[in-house]
Symmetry: C2
Subunit: 222 residues, 2 copies
Amino acid sequence: MAQDAPIDRAPTGQEIADWVRQRIRTGRFVPGQRLVEVDIIRQTGASRSKVREALKRLEGEGLVEIEEFRGASVRSSTLDEVRQIYRARMALEGMAAHDFTVNADAATLERLKALQAQLDTCVHERAPDRFGRLNNEWHRLIVEGSGNKVIADHLQRLNVPIHRLLFESFYDEERLKTANADHQAMLTLILAGDAEGAERAMRQHIGDGFDTLARIEDEFYS
Amino acid sequence: MAQDAPIDRAPTGQEIADWVRQRIRTGRFVPGQRLVEVDIIRQTGASRSKVREALKRLEGEGLVEIEEFRGASVRSSTLDEVRQIYRARMALEGMAAHDFTVNADAATLERLKALQAQLDTCVHERAPDRFGRLNNEWHRLIVEGSGNKVIADHLQRLNVPIHRLLFESFYDEERLKTANADHQAMLTLILAGDAEGAERAMRQHIGDGFDTLARIEDEFYS
DNA sequence: ATGGACGAAATTGTCAACAATATCGTTGTC
DNA sequence: GACAACGATATTGTTGACAATTTCGTCCAT
C-alpha cells in the first residue's frame, strides 16, 4: 500500500514531492533535517532539475525551508503555529462537516457507518495505532464527501506538518474514548440531517484534539 | 505603488511569481491565456530557469496549469469552483473575525474605524472602484489582525483567482450599500466584544457576496 | 587544549546548448 | 474547396558543465 521504495522509471517532480512529503509524514525526515539534493537523487533516481523543482514546490507549500546556498531543510513548527493550524482546521473541517451532512450520498454514508464500527472495535481492543489510521480515514471521508475540492485541498496541505501529531493523542486512553464518542455523536447528527449541529460538533472535536496535544507537549517540555 | 514595470536587477523566482500573480489579478493575463516562457523573460529580464521555477510555483498554487510540452496557461475557474472558494472563505474569514474580536489591539481597532469612515464616504460619493480597493484593505486588516498567519496565508491564496470578481459586485449600488451596512454592523459587534456574533456576520456577509456574484454571472451568461 | 587562518571538499545556483514535442503554414491530391 | 502529408518554426524539456558559496578538516600560533 504505502509506496516507500525508490521508483523505477524517471519520476516526475510531483512524484518526488509526494515521496518527500510521505517521508516527512512518517517521521523519516524530521524537522530541521537538511534535504541534500544528491541524497534525494540517489534514493529516487530522479534528475537534479526534478529534485530541485520538487523542493521548490514543497517550499511553496510551507513544508520545507530553502536558504540560499544552504539548500532545503524540513521546516519545524512551533506550538503556536500548530495552534494556528488547528484553528484553520476547525474552520474548514467544520464547514466540510456541514456540507457533508447536506451533500453526502447514501453510499458514502454507509462507508462512514462501517468505518465507525471499525473504530468502535479499536477502542474495545485498545489499538491506538490502528485507531489513528482509521481516524484519519474517517476525517478524510467527511472532507471528500462534502463535495468541496478546494477545502479538501487546503486541508490536505494543512495536515502534512501535523500528521505525526495526529497519532500522539490516542495513546492517552481517555482521549481515545472521548474522541470516539465525539465521532458517534457526529454520526448521529449527520444522519439526522443537522448540518449546523455537525459543524459545531466537528469544531469542538478538533479544538479538544489540540487541547490534548498541548497538554502532552507541556508535560513533555516541563 | 503598484510595481508593474520590468525589474532592473535579475529577479528571483519569487519575484517573477509575484509579477505574474499581479498581472493575473489585474486581468492583464486572462484565464486560458498561454504564458510563454520567452515572453516572460523578455518582459522581466529573468533567466529561463527562474521563469520556469516561478511557473512551477504558480502551478502548485493552482493558479496556472502546465501541460507537458505545451507549457503554462492561466487556469480558469468554473462558477462551481468559485462557489467552493467562497465557502472556504466563509469558514476561514469567519474564524479570523472571531479571533480578531478577541485579539486585536487598540491601534488596529483605530485603523479599522478609520477605514470604515473612508468606506462610508465612498458609498456617499458612489465610488465603487475606490470602495473595492478599501474593501480589500478592510478584509485584509481583519485577517492580519486576527494573529493567525496560517489562516492569513491560505486566505491570500484563495483570493488570487477571484480577485477581479471581488470588484464586480460593487458596481451594483444596492450591493454596495448592503455590503457597507454589513461592515458597520460587524464593527459594532467587534467593538462590543461579541466574537461569535462577528463570526456569524462575516460568514453571512461573504455568503451574500457570492450570491450577488452568481446572480451577475447568470445574467451575463443568459 | 583553544582558537583562528587557510584550503579542500561538498553543496547549491546559474546558464547555455541540445533534444523532444507541438504548432502552423504550405503543398499536393482528390 | 476539403483534407491529409509534410516540413519549418516555435516552444518546452533535459542534461551537463561551470560558478558561487558554504562546510569541514587541518595546521599553526598562543
